[in-house]
């Protein structure tokens, strides 16, 4: 009996062992040995705080690239260092992450559902698809607070969660339970690389900003006296707050909700104030950068787009080199925008700060002549950003255009920027109505000329910014509206003497929505002049892309700009990216800066993941339901005005900067005017006549 028992059990065991042995051979699955190694150095508590099912799951997540070396939320630096060593990472490159609350708008919107006893964010979201007016915002029931194992989150007085950065371990527990994505675990690189999405808490100003700056956040930081924090917020999206604070036509202010009550908040003035604050302090704030990864990227063009791309590439750990054809960096900021709007010393200080991060520069090197895409590849550059701007001028295509004394506005402004003789006469006619035309006219005034601006539509249709138009008017620039040049008349020596123009009248609207000017037959007149500057549009000079055989591997659009994917800015050559005026045609400086960041993001993705990509939920247009104009319960508060540094008489003979910064008191006033808008919420607690409370504003100026 005993023998039979032993034999039976042995037989069953042997059969099972043989079957399993065969199965282990046939069904073998390779498992990365690093998983076991990583698991052995983790804390071993299986607490689940990291968001993975135990330490084995966390180790698997690290090896799969789903988690970083700091995956263990209770292990501290020692564990992170050991995990980094196994994964072949430099421990110093382990980025500090923290829970970030995106919904910080004004008073919570009204509840629109009757709750049924279940007071939990996930329940509300599941049962009612959201219980508040805002479809994306915080529901305010604090599920994240109970989910946080480290006591790092508390519900703030305004009904949204507030994170204590000292206690937050970035474990992700709050992020997992939040049904609205209000809380995100973010580090510096993630914030730099994030593109606005429709589910973000985007106040109208944020939606409209081409640079995607988190405007409500930096205004709120300024209101608390945290100027350094405000600059950090701005520099997550653009590298040049000093320049933008001076030259941006601030489209954000056009959609500001306060504009429906009185006047929009002086968003750009606040930005300029904090940027000036840093420059005047004489000390640069530290800008965090990822450690250098040794990978080189060529940035062709040292204008706003190129500088922005290089800045963000450097912050993401790359080693960018800027190739510039002119003697100095800055592009149109230096050679197109006059000194009185953007002093060169300010621009130099700002560019110096960007280069100080570790960006190499090669000047006076012309793309297509001194170097090519092939030579850059041979020199070890793994990707290229093309941002050579739009420097080629459109021509009038009228008789006498090649007369002596006829020049383009950009050529003139470049000469002024370089400080060389312009050859300007006493009586100048500027043809055009854009910002470049105004800059040309106002610079001419400062060189002692009597200036007449000729524009073929009316003042209302002028593309130039209204403040610039009025500024030129104050400086005695004369306007000739509804007038188009017919021909340019020159004397025997070929020098211009007159411009013959014809009167126009407005007809039906054209493709741009503006009414098309139509000539009035027989209304020709002459205007006497000795210099004519034309400024009717620019386009990129793309001949540099073609080889000696006339072949080009890149694509040109029908607007004569470089073709690229509109979201990733990747061109027909996978490792070549573009941005700025070269891609969009002449546009705003802030647009170029924004494209520079987008391109840096795409280059990073291309070099690390092989393919640049964007979320399917990218915000492209203004979100309609956020554009309401009825803003009740907000008191009237007068907007501050930028003070003039010099008076009008002096303005006409000097290139000194015209506009100065706001005073501290005025900035305090402006930040109090901000409604701290979200998608549908805004701060409505200001009633008519109520003064802004000092404790709400700057405490530590």
């Amino acid at each position: 009996m005993i023998t039979a028992s032993v034999l039976v059990l042995f037989g069953i065991g042997l059969t099972a062992a043989v079957i399993l042995a065969v199965a282990s051979k046939v069904l073998y699955v390779y498992e990365d040995p690093r998983i076991a190694q990583v698991e052995s150095v983790l804390a071993g508590a299986n607490c689940g705080g990291c968001g993975f099912p135990g330490c084995a799951g966390a180790a698997q997540g690290v090896v799969d690239g789903k988690a970083g070396a700091t995956v263990c939320v209770i292990g501290g630096d020692e564990v992170a260092k050991n995990v980094a060593a196994i994964m072949g990472l430099d421990f110093s490159s382990v980025e500090k992450k923290i829970a970030f609350v995106d919904c910080t708008g004004g008073t919570r919107a009204e509840e629109i559902y009757e709750y049924q006893g279940v007071k939990d964010c996930r329940a509300q979201h599941m049962l009612y698809s959201g219980s508040k007016m805002c479809p994306e915002g915080c529901l305010g029931y604090g599920t994240c607070v109970t989910a946080c194992q480290f006591g790092a989150i508390a519900m703030g007085p305004d009904g949204y969660p507030v994170v204590d950065p000292e206690l937050c371990t970035a474990c992700g527990g709050c992020e997992q339970v939040c049904p609205r994505g209000v809380i995100t675990i973010w580090g510096m690189t993630a914030r730099i690389k994030h593109l606005n999405e429709n589910t973000d808490c985007l106040a109208p100003c944020r939606q409209r900003c081409p640079g995607q700056i988190n405007i409500p956040r930096y205004i709120e930081q300024v209101s608390r006296g945290d100027f350094a924090g405000a600059l950090e917020t701005i520099r997550e999206r653009i590298p040049m707050p000093l320049s933008i604070g001076r030259v941006c036509p601030h489209p954000c202010e056009g959609v500001c909700r306060r504009g429906h009550v009185d006047e929009s908040v002086g968003i750009n003035m606040i930005k300029r104030f904090v940027a000036d604050w840093e420059m005047n302090s004489g000390q640069r704030l530290p800008i965090s950068c990822a450690p250098e990864n040794g990978r080189r990227v060529a940035v062709v063009g040292g204008g706003p787009a190129g500088l922005s791309c290089a800045f963000f590439l450097r912050r993401l750990g790359y080693s960018p080199t800027i190739f510039e054809s002119m003697p100095k960096l800055g592009g149109q900021l230096r050679y197109g925008i006059p000194e009185y709007r953007l002093p060169k010393s300010v621009l130099d200080w700002e560019i110096e700060g960007i280069l100080g991060l570790g960006v190499d520069v090669v000047t006076e090197q012309l793309f297509g002549k001194d170097f090519t895409l092939d030579s850059l590849a041979e020199d070890g550059f793994e990707a290229v950003f093309l941002g050579i701007g739009a420097w080629m001028n459109m021509t009038l295509r009228i008789e006498g255009e090649d007369s002596i004394g006829v020049e383009t506005g950009t050529e003139f402004l470049t000469k002024v920027g370089l400080g060389v003789d312009t050859g300007i006469g006493k009586r100048v006619v500027v043809i055009g109505g854009g910002n470049t035309a105004i800059d040309t006219a106002r610079s001419s005034v400062r060189l002692g000329a009597h200036v007449t601006m000729m524009y073929r539509r009316t003042r209302d249709e002028m593309p130039a910014h209204i403040e610039e138009i009025e500024g030129a008017e104050e400086e005695s620039v004369k306007y000739l509206y509804l007038a188009a040049p017919n021909r340019i008349i020159a004397d025997e020596s070929g020098h211009v003497t007159h411009v013959e123009y014809i009167q126009m009248q407005l007809g039906e609207p054209d493709d741009s929505g503006r009414r098309r000017p139509v000539p009035i037959e027989g209304s020709e007149s002459l205007i006497e002049c000795d210099t004519v500057y034309t400024s009717i549009g620019q386009k990129p000079e793309l001949s540099c892309l073609y080889d000696e055989n006339g072949a080009c591997t890149l694509e040109e659009t029908r607007w004569r700009t470089l073709g690229a994917d509109p979201e990733t800015l990747q061109t027909a050559i996978p490792n070549v990216f573009t941005g700025g005026d070269m891609h969009t045609g002449p546009a705003l400086v802030i647009t170029a800066l924004g494209e520079g960041r987008k391109a840096a993001r795409s280059i990073d993705q291309y070099l690390t993941e092989g393919v640049p990509h964007v979320s399917s939920n990218i915000q492209r247009e203004l979100i309609p339901y956020t554009m309401f104009t009825d803003v009740p319960d907000v008191g009237y508060r007068k907007r501050s005005a930028l003070p003039h540094q010099i008076e009008c008489d002096e303005r006409m003979c000097t290139f000194k900067e015209i506009e100065g910064p706001l005073s501290l008191e005025e900035v305090k006033h402006e930040t109090c005017r901000c409604l701290r808008c979200g998608l549908t919420c805004y701060n409505r607690d200001m009633v008519e006549g109520q003064e802004c409370q000092a404790e709400d504003c700057i405490k530590n100026p």
């Binding site: 009996m1 028992s5 059990l9 099972a16 069904l27 073998y28 599941m126």
Partner: protein
């Protein structure tokens, strides 16, 4: 008709977990999410059916002829353990997502008394091979039904504010008890 009664009895009247109180550990452990509960339930159906069929063969062709019935429990555990190991290897190779979602609970089937219980009940009731196949599969589905129902209730309870001391397993056990009472209503419908 007999097979239909057998199925109804296995699933509702003599539910392996709610009426026979077998397999409570994985029942509470894997009933937090419906998706995991479905995966675990299917794994139990598969393993229980396979185990019952193989152990039926072991009993009929090895133990009974040699009068070794007293080895039934140890021999069945050996067979089930090997079978679960095999299933684990198979899922890891062929259905990795299901393998990952089951995680630690797949090895738990090795010591799942529900599976062993089904195999032993089949012998005690002296089922034929076909009856063993039908009963074990139905019992597995009974386990799966209880698991999925409890998981659904617990997902809903997860959103409610309950006293901290009652959260998780305590509330799960209470709900299991209430479900068990509810299933007692089937008593007497079939045996």
């Amino acid at each position: 008709m007999d097979y239909f009664v057998l199925i109804i009895a296995a699933i509702f009247v003599n539910n392996i977990v709610l009426a026979q109180y077998l397999g409570n550990c994985p029942f509470i452990g894997t009933s937090k999410e419906s998706s995991v509960a479905i995966g675990m339930g299917l794994a139990v159906v598969f393993v229980a059916t396979m185990a019952a069929c193989i152990t039926w063969c072991v009993q009929q062709f090895m133990l009974a002829p040699n009068d070794l019935d007293y080895l039934q429990t140890i021999a069945f555990i050996l067979v089930i353990a090997a079978l679960v190991q095999f299933v684990e290897m198979f899922l890891k190779k062929v259905i990795p997502p299901l393998y990952k979602s089951l995680g630690i609970f797949l090895p738990l089937i090795t010591t799942n008394c529900a599976v062993l219980g089904i195999a032993i009940i089949c012998q005690r009731e002296e089922f034929s091979f076909i009856e063993t196949l039908v009963f074990s599969m139905a019992s597995g589905f009974g386990f799966m039904l209880a698991l999925v129902v409890l998981a659904s209730i617990r997902e809903r309870l997860d959103l409610a504010r309950v006293p901290v001391s009652m959260k998780g397993t305590p509330l799960g056990l209470i709900m299991a008890g209430l479900m068990s009472l509810a299933f007692f209503a089937f008593k007497g419908m079939a045996s």
